[in-house]
C-alpha cells in the first residue's frame, strides 16, 4: 500500500539519518596512538645517558640532542676541582711555611770552599728556565680559569677581569708550545741520570738528610730530584696531551672526551703546581748553595760533596772537577 511504503521509506530514512549522525561522532574508546613505538626521552637517557639523532647540518656535533653528563661535569668543575686545588696548593704552602719556620734553611755545614764544579751546562739551564718560566705563566693563567671568578672578579670588576682573562687565556694557549718543547728536552737530556737505583732507596730510607745532619750519598740526581723529574715528565706529558685536546676541540673526541680531558688536565695541573712549589722552595730558600746550580751552573765543591758525593767522585775521576780531599771551610770573601 502507498501509506505503508511511505511509512517504510520514512523509517529507513530516519534510521539512515541517525546512523550518519552517530558515525560522525568521534569514538573516544578506540583512540590510536601513532607514536606508540617511538622512542621516549627517559628511556633513551636511561640506556645511553645521551640522546643523539640525525641532523641535516654539516656540523655533526649538533646531532647530540641531550647530554645530561654536562651537569655532572659542571659539579666537578665548580665544586670538586676547587676543593682539590685549594687543599693541595694551600696545603703545600702551609707545609712549606711550617717546615721553613721549624727546620730553616739547610745550611752548608762545612762552609764554602771557594772552589766550584760545573753542575749544569748552559743548554741545560736554558731548557730548565724556559720550561720553568712558561710553567709559572701557565699555572697562573690556568688557576685564573678555575679560581678567578670567585676570587679575583669581585675585586676588579667585570670588564677588567674579562680583559685580563682574555690575555691570560692567549698566554696559556701559546706558551704551552715552548713548555711542551721544554718538557720533551728535559726528558731526553736527563733521562740517563734519573733512572732509580739502590742508592736512591738508601737515600730515601735516610730521609734524604732533610732533618738532622745526615748526608746520604747520591749521584748527580738524588731520589727527591728524580721524583721531580718524573713528575715533570709524566705530569707535563699528561697536561700537554690533554691540553692540546682541549685546545683543538672535537678533533679527537666527542663531548664526553672533552669533559674528560678537562678533568684530567685540571687535576694533574693542580697537583703539578703543588709539587713545583716544593721544588721551587728547596731550590731557592730551602737549601744554601742550591740555586747556584741553575743560576750560574757552577756549584761550590763543598756543597757538591755534602749533597752529591758520588757524583763528585765521578766528575773528579773524569777530570771535570778539582780534586781534593775533605773540604775545609774558607772565610767568605
Amino acid at each position: 500500500m502507498a501509506s505503508l511504503g511511505r511509512f517504510i521509506r520514512l523509517t529507513v530514512g530516519a534510521c539512515a539519518f541517525l546512523l550518519v549522525i552517530a558515525a560522525s561522532v568521534p569514538c573516544n574508546a578506540q583512540q590510536v596512538n601513532p607514536t606508540a613505538s617511538s622512542v621516549k626521552e627517559q628511556q633513551l637517557l636511561q640506556e645511553l645517558n645521551r640522546i643523539q639523532g640525525r641532523v641535516s647540518i654539516p656540523d655533526q656535533r649538533s646531532g647530540v640532542l641531550e647530554q645530561p653528563a654536562g651537569r655532572d661535569w659542571r659539579e666537578f668543575r665548580n665544586v670538586t676541582l676547587r676543593w682539590i686545588g685549594g687543599i693541595t696548593i694551600i696545603g703545600m704552602i702551609a707545609v712549606l711555611v711550617i717546615f721553613y719556620l721549624t727546620r730553616g734553611m739547610v745550611r752548608l755545614e762545612s762552609g764554602r770552599s771557594g772552589r766550584t764544579i760545573v753542575r749544569f751546562s748552559a743548554f741545560e739551564r736554558f731548557v730548565h728556565w724556559m720550561t720553568a718560566t712558561c710553567f709559572i705563566v701557565l699555572a697562573i693563567s690556568g688557576l685564573n680559569i678555575t679560581f678567578g671568578r670567585p676570587l679575583l672578579l669581585p675585586l676588579v670588576g667585570f670588564e677588567a677581569f674579562s680583559e685580563w682573562s682574555q690575555w691570560a687565556k692567549y698566554a696559556h694557549n701559546y706558551l704551552s708550545f715552548p713548555f711542551t718543547i721544554g718538557v720533551a728536552l728535559i726528558f731526553l737530556m736527563w733521562i740517563a741520570g734519573n733512572i732509580p737505583n739502590k742508592v736512591d732507596v738508601d737515600w730515601l730510607k735516610r730521609g734524604g738528610g732533610i732533618v738532622g745532619h745526615d748526608h746520604p750519598p747520591a749521584y748527580r740526581f738524588n731520589a727527591g730530584q728524580k721524583a721531580i723529574y718524573w713528575i715533570v715528565v709524566i705530569g707535563g706529558g699528561a697536561v700537554a696531551v690533554t691540553g692540546y685536546e682541549l685546545m683543538f676541540p672535537f678533533y679527537l673526541s666527542g663531548i664526553e672526551g672533552m669533559q674528560l680531558a678537562q678533568i684530567v688536565h685540571s687535576i694533574v695541573a693542580v697537583l703539578f703546581i703543588a709539587a713545583m712549589l716544593g721544588h721551587i722552595y728547596i731550590g731557592t730558600i730551602g737549601m744554601e748553595g742550591a740555586f747556584d746550580a741553575m743560576g750560574t751552573g757552577d756549584v761550590d765543591l763543598n756543597w757538591a760533596k755534602e749533597h752529591h758525593s758520588l757524583w763528585v767522585e765521578e766528575e773528579q775521576a773524569k777530570g771535570h772537577a778539582p780534586s781534593g780531599g775533605t773540604s775545609r771551610p774558607v772565610a767568605a770573601e
Binding site: T35, K40, Q42, G53, E66, G70, R149, S162, H172, F248
Partner: protein, 198 residues
C-alpha cells in the same frame, strides 16, 4: 611574572625546519652558527621522532655556573642571556650545556673561536632594546616588543611552543588529554627539573 620556556611537542614535529629558517632569517644568523636545529632520532625507521632544540633557558643554568668570567645573566622572565663583550670564548659553556646550545664563529684553536652565540629567546642582549648594536650582536629583540620567539610563531604544526611555562604546559596537557597520547615535554626534566604529567 611569566617564566619563559620552550616546549617541543615531539609527537607533532614533522622536521620541516620552519623554526630553524625563521630564526636564521630573523637574526641574520651567519652560516655555520646553528641557534636552533631539528634532530631526528631513528631517522627512516618505524618510531622516528623529530625534536626541535635550541637553548632551553634552564633553571640554574649550567652554562652560567661554569663560565670563568661570569658573562651570563638571567632576566626576570627566566631568559638566560650573556654578554659578548665579557665572553672570552673559552668553550666551557658548551661542555656544560646538556643541549649543545652555545655556538662559536670559528673552529679549532680553543679560546680563539670568537664570542659564543646562542638562542636568546628573541630577547636580545645587554645593549639597549631594539638598538642597532643589539641587533648586530645578539639579533632581534622581540620580547621587548611584546612578541614571542619567531621559531614558535612559525612552527607549521604548532609543535614548538614558547612562552610562559605554566601556559604552554597547560596547552600541552590539554593536547595530550584530547588525543590520548604524548611523549612528554622533551628536555624539561633536565632544564627545569619538572615534568608534565601526561
Amino acid at each position: 611574572m611569566a617564566r619563559m620556556k620552550f616546549l617541543c611537542d615531539a609527537d607533532r614535529c614533522i622536521e620541516c625546519n620552519a623554526c630553524v629558517t625563521a630564526c636564521k632569517n630573523e637574526h641574520e644568523v651567519p652560516w655555520g652558527i646553528n641557534r636552533r636545529r631539528v634532530v631526528t632520532i631513528n631517522d627512516g625507521k618505524p618510531g622516528e621522532r623529530s625534536v626541535s632544540m635550541a637553548c632551553m633557558h634552564c633553571t640554574d643554568a649550567p652554562c652560567a655556573a661554569v663560565c670563568p668570567v661570569n658573562c651570563f645573566y638571567t632576566t626576570a622572565d627566566g631568559v638566560v642571556l650573556h654578554s659578548k663583550d665579557l665572553c672570552i670564548g673559552c668553550g666551557y659553556c658548551f661542555y656544560a650545556c646538556p643541549f649543545g646550545a652555545p655556538q662559536y664563529p670559528k673552529v679549532g684553536n680553543f679560546g680563539s673561536r670568537g664570542k659564543m652565540d646562542k638562542c636568546t629567546f628573541c630577547a636580545g642582549g645587554p645593549e639597549a632594546d631594539g638598538s642597532r648594536e643589539e641587533y648586530e650582536k645578539y639579533g632581534a629583540n622581540r620580547l621587548a616588543e611584546g612578541k614571542l620567539p619567531l621559531c614558535a610563531e612559525m612552527c607549521s604544526t604548532k609543535s614548538l611552543l614558547a612562552g610562559d611555562g605554566e601556559i604552554i604546559a597547560q596547552i600541552y596537557k590539554e593536547r595530550v588529554m584530547k588525543r590520548g597520547y604524548g611523549s612528554g615535554a622533551w628536555g624539561w626534566k633536565t632544564a627545569y627539573r619538572e615534568t608534565i604529567e601526561s
